[in-house]
């Protein structure tokens, strides 16, 4: 019966996960708000503290924060709970899950709507446009509440730069400069690696396109409609991949994998230049035993308009549908509490998350915090570098979790020499489009 048990676990397990949440009966007339999140370590403490502070600030509502595992785990748990009829009130979903959440019209309730109905003060213009753009409809209605945001930055090892005779205070700005520096570094300081990156597709396809103001897909990267088609086999994309493939041959470029597991190569000192999330800050601060810094992402100087602005990583909070008016009121109060300028400013300086309101950014800037902590401002400079365009205000592709893996597979084939960069990206486009069409079919109904 082993076989039966396994099947049961796979298929009914999702449902069980949902029913595990037994609604604790409130002892007194307090409305309970369930918040499922995926924050670990120090960030977990931040979440718990926010909930505790909110609960202490008023008497009517109680926010209960529950850790649900990794980003994908939390999202699947939320989906399974919704199917079982007991979804949480607030679900933290990572940026790639945005399109899936958005398409689930009955399952979610737009933040803007909840705030309006509850009569809470809510001005979308108060938020950083690069942040809200990612989580808003084409018409500008904010769907989810940005919580922890980051962007891609280039981390570099100053000690290795010195050893290689490079100026540690003038990091390379363009890709050709990065390649040249990486070759020098590999020759004289770090024999196993010139440069690397984590999150291969996020860095080399998504952020790369946005930073160079070229489309990832049609329809404003999918924001204007699910009938979007991928455009990641443009000459610039192919050129970049071809450069990576060429440099990978002698390990000037080292492939760091699809997720953040490759980040260890930077903190260990093996790779002197590594492109990854600005959220890597805490890890670098506590683990790197050398002098380090970060800088904005490099760009190709011959690409018109580059650099544009970068886009987000991280996660946002979605409000689930089918709850009572009192509960929505509580959620609105909690989000107003989160948007408070002082709180946003403190959250930013404590945790390294980006502030999401313009006022909070201005406040931290005025306080002179960035003079001593310039690394926290790099992603903000990138995000606000220029007014976002059609190609740079965000991206919204259904099935993106899987599409990213397909892209990564094709890039891996190109790096392994099994396909030419052009063939790999052509395949990434056609396979990705198939998945987009499947999503369109289930979502548009």
């Amino acid at each position: 019966m082993n076989l039966g048990r396994k099947l049961k676990l796979q298929l009914a397990g999702a449902l069980l996960a949902g029913s595990a949440l037994t609604a604790a009966a409130p002892a007194f007339a307090q409305t309970e708000i369930q918040w499922w999140h995926a924050m670990t370590g120090a960030n977990n403490d931040v979440v718990n503290k926010l909930a505790a502070d909110f609960n202490a600030s008023q008497k009517d509502y109680k926010v209960v924060a529950t850790f649900k595992g990794s980003y994908p785990d939390t999202m699947s748990a939320g989906i399974a709970a919704f199917r079982a009829g007991n979804a949480p009130h607030i679900l933290q979903v990572f940026e790639v899950g945005t399109a899936t959440m958005m398409a689930a019209k009955g399952a979610i309730k737009p933040v803007a709507e909840v705030m309006k109905e509850a009569g809470e003060k809510f001005d979308p213009a108060a938020y950083l446009p690069a942040v809200t753009g990612y989580y808003s409809t084409a018409k500008g209605e904010m769907l989810s509440f940005p919580f922890n945001s980051s962007s891609t930055v280039m981390w570099y090892n100053k000690d290795a730069f010195r050893k290689a005779g490079l100026n540690p205070d003038a990091p390379p700005k363009t890709w050709p400069e990065v390649f040249a520096a990486a070759k020098k570094l590999k020759a004289s300081a770090t024999p196993n690696c010139g440069f690397s990156n984590a999150w291969v597709t996020w860095v080399n396809i998504e952020q790369f396109s946005v930073w160079h103001n070229i489309p990832i897909g049609t329809k404003a990267n999918g924001i204007d409609g699910f009938d979007t088609e991928l455009k990641i086999n443009s000459p610039l994309h192919v050129k970049h991949l071809a450069n990576l493939v060429e440099l990978a041959k002698d390990k000037t470029y080292v492939y760091g994998g699809r997720t953040n597991t490759g980040e260890g190569a930077f903190t260990s000192g093996e790779c002197p230049i590594l492109l990854t999330s600005s959220g890597f800050y805490g890890n670098v601060k506590s683990n790197a035993k050398f002098e380090w810094a970060n800088a904005p992402m490099p760009y190709y100087p011959d690409a018109a308009g580059a650099p544009q602005n970068s886009t987000l990583g991280g996660a946002s909070l979605w409000i689930m549908g089918g709850k009572s008016a009192a509960e929505y009121k509580g959620i609105a109060k909690f989000f107003a509490f989160l948007s408070d300028t002082d709180r946003q400013a403190k959250l930013h300086t404590d945790s390294g998350y980006l502030p999401i309101t313009k006022a909070a950014y201005a406040k931290v800037k005025d306080s002179g915090f960035y003079k001593t902590n310039p690394y926290l401002e790099t992603p903000l400079i990138e995000l606000t570098n220029k007014t976002p365009t059609e190609n740079s205000k965000g991206l919204r592709f259904g099935n993106l979790v899987q599409i990213r893996d397909v892209w990564a597979e094709e890039i891996e084939d190109a790096l392994a020499g099994k396909k030419t960069p052009q063939a790999a990206l052509d395949a990434a486009v056609s396979r990705g489009n198939t998945m987009l069409r499947q999503f369109e079919r289930t979502a548009s109904r």
Partner: protein, 293 residues
């Protein structure tokens, strides 16, 4: 004279069967039936819109070249893991069965890996062979092997096979050891007196007497590699590089849990179920004949 005790009525036998029957239905037929039903549906992640599409999920599966590739990967992976874990388990059991000092300690140590969860086992191996941090990866590099499971499909496959095998050896070891203990010493001694050397004694006396255990383990191991290994693959390679370590069960897990494509995932699990049923049937039909109980 009939001395059997007879119970009147036809209800009681069914009542006695009921508990077992309930368990089988609840834990086997219902979920399996649900999987079959789900495989005919096309649904969004939240189950808001559902469309009955007959065999479209299957059609899509079997027109997708990637799926045939996962079948090939599964065949290689399963054959390697089952063969390696059975042969290592048997070898270790035969060794541990000898009169040696501290045999109990060896036995206990050898059983330990079974208590390790698949995902943890995966992470352990991942650390040892991580190209930039792993100790064993460093060693390989010093020998001049360009070890890189992140880009080299063969390296990645070796890694998941090792992790999955390591995890299963203990289980096989335990059963083989019990099987060896059940073989009467007098038979082996008689063979020894007749002049049979250890190797010959093993193949003509011990191995045939172990065959029921070996057969049981073969079935269990096949089920293990087909269903239980997605945790290891997920934590070691995530199916990469370029889909080189995507096995069928990993794809079921991946498409269903991460991709929220429940229809496609259910269709795959039905296919997988049929394959395992067929494999088990073949084993009982052909291999079992050679087993001497």
């Amino acid at each position: 004279m009939d001395r059997r005790v007879m119970f009147g009525g036809k209800v009681l036998p069914y009542m006695l069967l009921l508990p077992q029957f309930t368990i089988v239905v609840v834990f086997f037929y219902l979920p399996a039936g649900q999987a079959v039903w789900q495989s005919f549906l096309l649904q969004d992640a939240f189950g808001i819109s559902t469309e009955f599409v007959w065999f479209e999920n299957y059609q899509e599966l079997f027109t997708n070249p990637e799926y045939y590739r996962t079948m090939g990967t599964t065949a290689v992976f399963s054959a390697l893991v089952a063969f390696l874990s059975l042969s290592c388990g048997l070898l270790l059991a035969v060794m541990a069965d000898k009169q040696i000092k501290g045999a109990t300690i060896y036995k206990t140590m050898l059983i330990w890996p079974y208590a390790v969860a698949p995902a943890v086992a995966g992470v352990l191996w991942l650390f040892m062979f991580q190209p930039s941090l792993g100790m064993l990866a460093k060693l390989l590099r010093e020998w001049g092997i360009d070890w890189n499971p992140l880009l080299n499909g063969t390296h990645a496959m070796i890694l998941v096979v090792l992790a999955a095998t390591w995890k299963q050896i203990s289980y096989n070891f335990l059963f083989f050891l019990a099987g060896l203990a059940a073989i009467p010493k007098s038979v082996i001694e008689a063979a020894a007196i007749d002049g049979a050397r250890p190797v010959r004694r093993f193949w003509t006396i011990i191995f045939p007497l172990l065959s029921p255990t070996a057969f049981f383990l073969l079935v269990v191991n096949i089920v293990y590699v087909f269903f239980d290994t997605f945790g290891i693959i997920d934590s070691v390679t995530g199916g990469g590089p370029a889909g080189n370590t995507v096995t069928m069960v990993f794809k079921v897990y991946y498409d269903g849990k991460l991709g929220s494509d429940l229809g496609g995932s259910a269709a795959q699990s039905v296919v997988l179920m049929l394959i395992v049923i067929a494999l088990t049937a073949i084993q009982f039909r052909f291999v079992e004949r050679k087993v001497q109980y």
